[in-house]
Structure formats: C-alpha cells, structure tokens
Amino acid sequence: MVVANIEVSETPLVLYTLRRADDALILGHRLSEWCGHAPMLEEDMALSNIALDLIGQARELYGYAAKAEGKDNDEDKLAYLRDVRQYRNLLLVEQPNGDFAQTLVRQFFYSAFADLYWRAMMNSRDATLAAVAAKSEKESAYHLRHSSEWIIRLGDGTEESHARAQAAIDRLWAFTGEMFAVDDSERGLIDAGIAIDPIALRERWLKTVTNVAGEATLVLPQNDWMQQGGRFGRHSEHLGHLLSELQSMQRTFPGLTW
C-alpha cells in the first residue's frame, strides 16, 4: 500500500511545469478558503471563480508534468502525495489569506505577473505550454482587472481600508522578487524557447503595480530585499498546514478512488 510521498524525476521541463502547477493550485486553494466567508456575496462568487480558474490551470499543468515525466504519476498523485519539501510554488501564493486586503494584494501582485507571463508563454515552442498559456492568459487578464479595481477601492476608500491595504503591500512586497528569479534548470528552457525569461517582464510588472498603487494612493516599499526559496522547497511554515488539510483524505485513506 502506498502511503509515502511519491518520487518525481524533476527534469528541467517537469520541474518547470510543476512549479507553475503548484503556484496555481496553492493560490487556488487559498482563495477557495474564502468560499462562504467573503465580505459580500459578489466576492464569494468572484474569489471562487478565480480559484476555479487556477485549479483548472493546475490540473492541466500537473497532467502535462506527469506526461513529461513519463512515470506512474498523475495530477492527483502530484498534488496529494508530495510533502512540503517537494512543493515548488512561490512563497507569495502560500501566504495566509489574512484579511480581504492581504488576499487581494497577494492576488494583485501575482495576477499582474501572471497576465504578462501567460501572454508571453503563448509563444512557447512547447505546444502544450503554449495552449495552457492561451487559456490562462484570458483568465489572468480578468483576475488582474478584478484585483486592481479592489486595490484602488481599498486604497482610496476609507482610512481603515487604506491602512489595511498599505499594511498588506508592506507585508507581501518581499515575496514578489521570486516571480522573476531564474535558476540554471530554467535557463536551458529559456534558451530553447520553451520558457520565457521573466526578467524581461519585470519592468512592465512594476509599471502596472506602480500605476495601480498610485491611483489607490498607496506607496510601494523601497526595501529591495526579496525572500526566496519556494522554487526549491524551502517554504514558509504556512504551507505545511495548508498541505495537511489539502492532502488529509489521500493521506488517511491511501490508494483509494474517490
């Protein structure tokens, strides 16, 4: 009976795909925690919708990672049978929901990146990644619009919402640098035209973020120190708790079909 973690042969393509799949799943999971508890019914709907898009992206990417690996793994094994050290997502997306401002700032930072990223990835030489990108780009554009509008409303709303939005920016800023980091395994894929170089997106990302923050009367931190580690399985303490919940059924009843 299989209970332990699966092993994944992380070739550059498998690792690259898993990293993006993990981003989508973990952020989708975080957003799904709001379902039934949002500040208004419209946001229960919107946050669930975004969560569904992200979980959908994760499923396609896990499916592709499993195929690229060519072993016995599948989307559920990849999601449910890897532990915290095997997860490859950005630290940003595993941060707890906090209040509505923390959730929306996290979403805004990520979506402002994802929108550019998926649009660029539509030109990937890898046909599957390009197809995932074409679908995800449309979704991310909506996610960015939704979160930008909220950043502006919260920043330029009341004194309290402004303070909360500013606190969220200050808290989450240090997790944004990881989105633009590249390691050797990704460098090869970039050279082969399979992946895009995220550094090329940074200026446009910063412009979007600066414009929206400006309209929201919020200030971006000057601190350049960026926290990293998620891509290599060095996570915050939050991820383990998320996974223990996400994986509880598969860990309690190993090997069953649901």
């Binding site: 039934g36 508890h37 229960d44 569904l52 979980i55 919260l154 009341t158 059924m249 079909t257 649901w258």
Partner: protein, 330 residues
Amino acid sequence: MYTQALNTAEADDRSLEDVAHAAQFQARIDAEERIEPNDWMPAAYRKTLTRQISQHAHSEIVGMLPEGNWITRAPSLRRKAALLAKVQDECGHGLYLYAAAETLGTSREELVDAMLAGKAKYSSIFNYPTLTWADIGVIGWLVDGAAIMNQIPLCRCSYGPYARAMIRVCKEESFHQRQGYEIMLTLCRGSDEQKAMAQDALNRWWWPVLMMFGPPDKVSQHSDASTKWKIKRFSNDELRQKFVDATVPQAQYLGLTIPDPGMTQDAEGHWRYSEIDWTEFKQVLAGNGPCNRDRMAARRKAHDEGAWVREAAAAYAKKRQYRQSAQAAE
C-alpha cells in the same frame, strides 16, 4: 435550496380595501397568469412571498457552509473543482433569490439583517454537520434531490420573478444531484471502508432530509393561502412521498440500506416510511440543532469582518461620483 417547510403564509388577507382588485387578482391567478412586480397584489401575498423567497435565499447562503467545510479537503482535484463550483452555484442562487425578493420592495440588506438577527429562518437541514466526505455525496443526492422535488412546482409559481429564478436554479440543482449520486456510486463501488462511510452518511441524513418537506399535512397550518395563490401546488406529504418513492430504488442500486426497518411497499408501489420524529425537527427549528449556533456565528463573522470592505467600496464609489461631477462642472 429548499422552501417547503418554511411556507408560512398569512392566514388570510383581511385588510383588502379594494375587493374588485382582489377578485381580479385571484382571477388572474386562477387563469395561470404570472403576477409581475408592478402589478397590484394583496399585501399578504407580497408579505408571504417576501418571506418565502428570502428564506429560500438565506437557505442557499447558509447552505454554502456545510459543503464549504469540505472544499479544502476534497479527495481529488476533480472533486475539489466540482465542489467549489457547486458551492459557488448555491451562492449564485442566493443572489438571484435576493434579487427576486427585492422586486417585492424589501432590500437585500434588510433581508440579510433579519437573518443575522435570528428573525428570519433558513432550512433546518443545514444545521446538521458534514463529518465525512460521504456527506458531500449524500447532500448532493438527497438534499438537492429533495430541493428539486420542491422547486420543480415552484417553476410554475404565480409570481413571475420567483418562477423564472426557479427554472434556472432547478437546472443547476439537477446537475448537483447527479454529481452527488456519482460520488455515492464511487464510494459504493470502492473499499469496505468507503461503503461503510456511505452507509453512515445515509443513516445520519435520511430522517433530516425527510423533515425538509415540512410538517405532516394533518398539522400543517399555513398552506391554504399559498395554495389558493398558486405559490404552493403540492402538499408536504405528497412531495415527501414522491421523494421517497424516487429515492428508494436509487439506494437499492447503490446497495445501501434506508435506515427505516419499518419501511414497506404498498400495493400501489409506494414506499411507506415509519413515523418521523417531529420533536427533533422542532428542536432544530428552535435553534437546538447540532450546528445552528455555528452556522449563525459563521455568517455573522463574515458579515462583521467584511463591514470595512463594504464601507470602503461605498466610500470609493461616492468619491468617484463626486470627482466625476466636479469634472463635468469644470
């Protein structure tokens, strides 16, 4: 999700100033015409419908909680996406229903406040806990199944906005029901542990689901006006029997046992169930179900913690409007 037990019409409309209007109104109902928001209607009709539709809306929203309890723990990515989409649908139903209720002249805020203050009811079925994954299957199969039994006749309800909302809601509910049954089927074809989980969930939900149809006809006091106004077309017991007759073969196909040893099939093929424990129903309605306090606390928490967000949205909208009109004046 469910309304039958909540039908609490005014006993009669005694304050009609305009007898001619009332007669004309009833004639339209009898001719199966739809009543629309701007049409004349008796005050008691308006009040009954506002109550019923808003209670239905509250049920959808509170009903998100027991199922939402499993979104983060769904056992596969496919199940996770399907459950999240389902709970999102319930939220959508709540929204259409609040909108339908608003056409009768009471705002969503007032309706929600009444619920949060404990003055408005929601379906008592949501005061039971979801303890295992099988509960998600049973809720789809039986709770949504019972809701469909109730709501199909409401698609022909005399009040146009409610009837139209029900058409869309019923389509989605029947999808949910199939999804729930499919979860049950997977469990029942699975390991012994999974089958036991399915049976345990059925055991816990069966009687509360039968109670969803409301008190027995012999003690149900409120149906007369609703029947006359064609808001309600079948009695509680008629719908309950229809539901039981449809469900028993489904349980047999799954290989599950209905937790009613006294159940028999009569000569006409109807499955006759044993006496329902109405004391439990009354206790849950009175606030003493296993989760009443938790459900209300969760809704109040979401409402209270979201207040600053709603205030910010309103403040921003006001500022924006002010800036736009200032710009236009320049």
